[in-house]
Symmetry: C2
Subunit: 597 residues, 2 copies
């Protein structure tokens, strides 16, 4: 069955305008020409686009998928028309520099649109998503010539882009990559090597594909400090922007995957005939630093894939539970069969999903807002603070959202009973498509090491402190809010335990790095629960104030209050317990005899 | 890639002979002719059979699957030869009555074999699994003629069987089934109705398929009290056992599923031409009571499907982490890349999987032992006690094992990184095949209602008390075991909280049934954690004693000790916290406005 796209518009508006108050961005350049009304219009447009263009290709993306034949990948024809409309609609670079064809909107608006689009057809979104990121790399780190040739063509979707990092032998460990670059002339190099798991590495949506390739210039230092970034077009580009000769980039295989069939995951051979030219981006040996711009954007996008699919699956499961009649009401056991939404266990699943989706929405939109504020806030210290906040939230956006979003998909699946297991409903495709979110752009284990090993203690703990300060600001502002007192008390307790655990871990980073790494994943999970609980309780507080004004949609605010409290009560006690276990070191997994696992 | 079947034989032997001490069954009829050596031989045979016959068809079961054309289902030819060998090997009814061609072995031995077989090829096992259960229904409830005609032919695989319960409009709610039976002559009825989601409902493995159909005799009471059971053969059977005419049973559709492609999930129309004869099994209106024998066996088999796949996936993930070289050791960051099993986060995943698999193995084998003891124990009261223990464990075996087993599959998948998402490795198929275990044979939500709504309080709490007594017996026997003191203290605390929560819930069953139902799932999860923690700590205690004798496989016992402690430390604190939250009632999901979800 087709993906019957649905979205809780009211909650999207609530997050944008009542929680994040994004219209305040319009006070500052470069957003002064925008307004709340315009943002709202974009939301309507994005919903329309998703319903008309993306949801209809969801099933096609799975059933037809990307077809590989003799080095060429062809995509379903429906992808071609969707890509054209997506490009023409200005969606690829909706939040990028208008000088290069971007829409100039805030990133938080792009986040909102992404939630919808990813829920519509996640496999399709791989192509414009990477194209956006590659365009931004060129804009940020390319020289004038490169920018002039590539940026606008990427932002407007004339060409598309990829990030070519992983190699078969290196996997997650980029320090081991072996692709070589030999200088030819100025910034031009000959590139040689094989890259694996390259999303959108080859396809027929655009006449050219721009690969951003990490490689070592001959003689470069070992490890990550010797990695440079090269722009490697599939077809060489003449100085006037017209297409020249093919550039010795071969697609040698396409992965046969569990899901995401519409996204071609390619193995690419660069320079098999030693004729692959690459253009150095920025300075030599700084490739990984540059690539982190795209990797961080991609990590948040992966969280958004999880949210978008979870959000859409929840709404469809909810609709199903209202329609499916089965079993008597527990309060009237001899009465007629009722819609299954009346059954307590189904309600438990629904509210678990709803609170998770709304929590992840708040988390991910907030990352967009932080991105904007880090760029446009008039105060430099504030920009720095927001940039820190974004940095510490990034691994949580990727890892926590992909894990909890997947849990939502599992519950949505359960709501449909046996039907969920059939291909007549979109649930099983959501599960297959979304399963990769815990893996790519750095596995969730790697995200946890990034959070605990780097972000929490970087800059003398500035980012961590900024995050805790945000929570504390909220806690102390609400200290007299009786209606939220039990939930805020839980958050306070969690914050206290988190501080203690973090203090406990600080010296272990050097003294017992193995144990430190061992607890990174549970630490991330718990911090994720806390951040989302904080955001949900902020929303609850807003709802409490709104209710006092007796608004026409009273019910929405009442429900928001219930949803937020439920999230906090359900998740914070467990987070507290798990955090506490980190402090009573169980080093068993480290002590195990390797042969005896 | 083919399913490279692996099993931790040492742990299987440990559970059978050191933990469950199953050779003690041989003291009693009907097992006096067996011995430990014979049981061990069966284990070896089952491993050989799985490796040679089942693991090789795992991938085929998915890629070829069941093919539906004009009312007929054909299975891959490899299924035909596997089925023949499976039948000839006596595996279908290995633990059933030798009088009818069964093997006469203890059920705990069948459980052990099932773990292997389900890990080898779960989709194939649907056919012999149901055939076993249907044969047992006939043996238990059929009259002499029916038993003579059908039992042996089912136990030896000449014909196969199905359970035809679900109807499209009724789903999980069997009281709503509408299939009608009109008396023709004596026990012969005409059956008319449509059944959905019938596993193995049509196929070409056997010349006849025996459907056990739930239907209402015209004029029967409404609801579950008016349901009778009919034996409906696909081909009518002559009195001499030869096949007669077709019996007006049509396969009108086969589900297109996420996984388990080799198992034909059929929609069956009985009596479309009013020519479908069914033979009443036992008394009228007692069909659901009879069917519970098969349903209970099937529920434990579903737990076994989850364990078998989790066990096999864990071993394969483990092997991968020993081979895959990537990243430096955290204790030697400038050193060479090492197998990923050296990385702490990978070890965390491995030990989480290992402890879960070993815990589920103990749980499921124990259910087999209880089954045997409930049947053969010389003391009637003891038989009753074991029967109660089996009853209360059954929903846990189904629900907890399918949920935790699925978590293991998710971690095994993660260990392989991007490769796990490809069809080059069996992980993605495990995930797709096993996803249905949370749904079929009663969704996990229904299992939880069975546990809390029925089993915990039935017979004035006798089954619950028997289970708690088992735990208490262990706790007090080990009160001086210093090496396990912290873990046993956790189990004691959990048991205390469980008692309090259960006392708290007792009156709510009548007073607040909606809240009662709302907490059934978390209650089951927590009780599952406790039961498995208890069993793992029992194993730890056995290991402690064994270590003192300085055995040659010292390492195995040391590891068992570590694994058991890890399980208890990791899971019990969270179970305690979750149980406590049940006592501070959060009725939010019940209070939510239906329109506002």
């Amino acid at each position: 069955m087709a993906n019957n796209f649905m979205i809780n518009e009211r909650d999207v508006r609530f997050v944008l305008f009542e929680h994040m108050k994004i219209e305040e961005l319009c006070k500052h350049e470069p957003f002064t020409e925008f307004s709340k009304e315009e943002f709202d219009m974009i939301l309507n447009e994005a919903i329309k686009f998703t319903k008309n263009e993306l949801a209809p290709i969801h099933e096609i993306s799975d059933r037809e998928g990307a077809k590989f034949d003799k080095g060429r990948v062809s995509l379903p024809s429906a992808f071609h028309s969707a890509y054209q409309k997506f490009s023409e609609g200005g969606w690829i670079a909706v939040s990028r520099n208008p000088e290069y064809g971007g829409g100039g909107m805030p990133t938080v608006i792009r986040m909102m649109a992404l939630e919808l689009f990813e829920g519509g057809c996640v496999a399709f979104m791989i192509y414009p998503g990477l194209t956006h990121g590659v365009g931004h790399l060129v804009e940020s780190f390319g020289d004038d010539e490169m920018k002039a040739l590539y940026t606008e063509r990427l932002y407007t979707g004339v060409w598309s882009g990829t990030m070519a990092l992983t190699e078969p032998q290196a996997g997650s460990h980029l320090g081991d990559i072996k692709t070589q670059a030999v200088p030819v002339d100025g910034k031009v190099y000959k590139v040689q090597g094989t890259k694996a798991f390259i999303s959108a590495g080859e396809h027929d949506l655009t006449p050219n594909i721009i690969h951003m390739v990490l490689a070592r210039i001959k003689g470069a230092p070992e490890g990550v400090r010797g990695i440079s970034m090269f722009l490697v077009p599939k077809i060489r580009v003449n100085p006037d922007g017209s297409l020249g000769e093919a550039n010795d980039v071969q697609c040698i295989a396409v992965e046969n995957k569990m899901g995401l069939h519409g996204s071609a995951t390619c193995q690419l051979a660069f320079g098999e005939n030693n004729e692959c030219l690459g253009w150095l981006v920025g300075e030599p040996n700084r490739g990984l630093i540059y690539m982190f711009q795209l990797m961080n954007e991609a990590r948040i996008s992966v969280g958004m894939q999880a949210l978008g699919q979870a959000s859409c699956a929840y709404e469809q499961a909810l609709a199903y539970t209202k329609e499916r009649i089965q079993g008597a009401d527990v309060m009237d056991r001899k009465g007629p069969s009722v819609p299954i939404i009346r059954h307590p266990d189904v309600r438990r699943m629904l509210l678990t999903m709803k609170s998770t989706v709304e929590g992840l929405r708040a988390l991910l939109y907030l990352s967009g807002l932080y991105y904007d504020l880090a760029r446009i806030h008039p105060d430099e210290q504030e920009r720095e603070r927001y940039s820190n906040l974004l940095e510490i939230l990034t691994p949580i956006c990727k890892s926590y959202a992909s894990d909890r979003g997947y849990d939502v998909l599992g519950l949505a699946f359960l709501c449909l009973g046996g039907y969920g297991y059939t291909r007549d409903y979109p649930m099983e495709q959501f599960l297959r498509d979304a399963k990769v979110t815990s893996i790519y752009e750095g596995t969730n284990g790697i995200q946890a090491l990034d959070l605990l090993g780097r972000k929490v203690f970087m800059k003398e703990g500035a980012a961590f402190k900024a995050l805790i300060d945000e929570m504390e600001k909220f806690i102390s502002a609400e200290k007299d809010t009786k209606d939220l007192a039990p939930e805020i008390a839980l958050l306070k307790e969690a914050r206290q335990v988190l501080k203690e655990v973090t203090d406990f871990l600080r010296p272990l980073r050097a003294e017992d790095p193995a144990y430190f790494n061992l607890v990174a994943c549970p630490y991330l999970d718990c911090l994720g629960d806390m951040v989302v609980a904080w955001l949900m309780l902020e929303q609850a507080s807003i709802a409490l104030h709104a209710i006092k004004t007796n608004p026409p949609d009273q019910n929405f605010y009442q429900t928001k209050l219930q949803t937020a409290k439920f999230f906090a009560r359900k998740n914070l006690p467990i987070a507290i317990t798990r955090l506490q276990t980190i402090r009573t070191p169980d080093r068993t997994p480290l002590e195990m005899n390797e042969a005896e696992f």
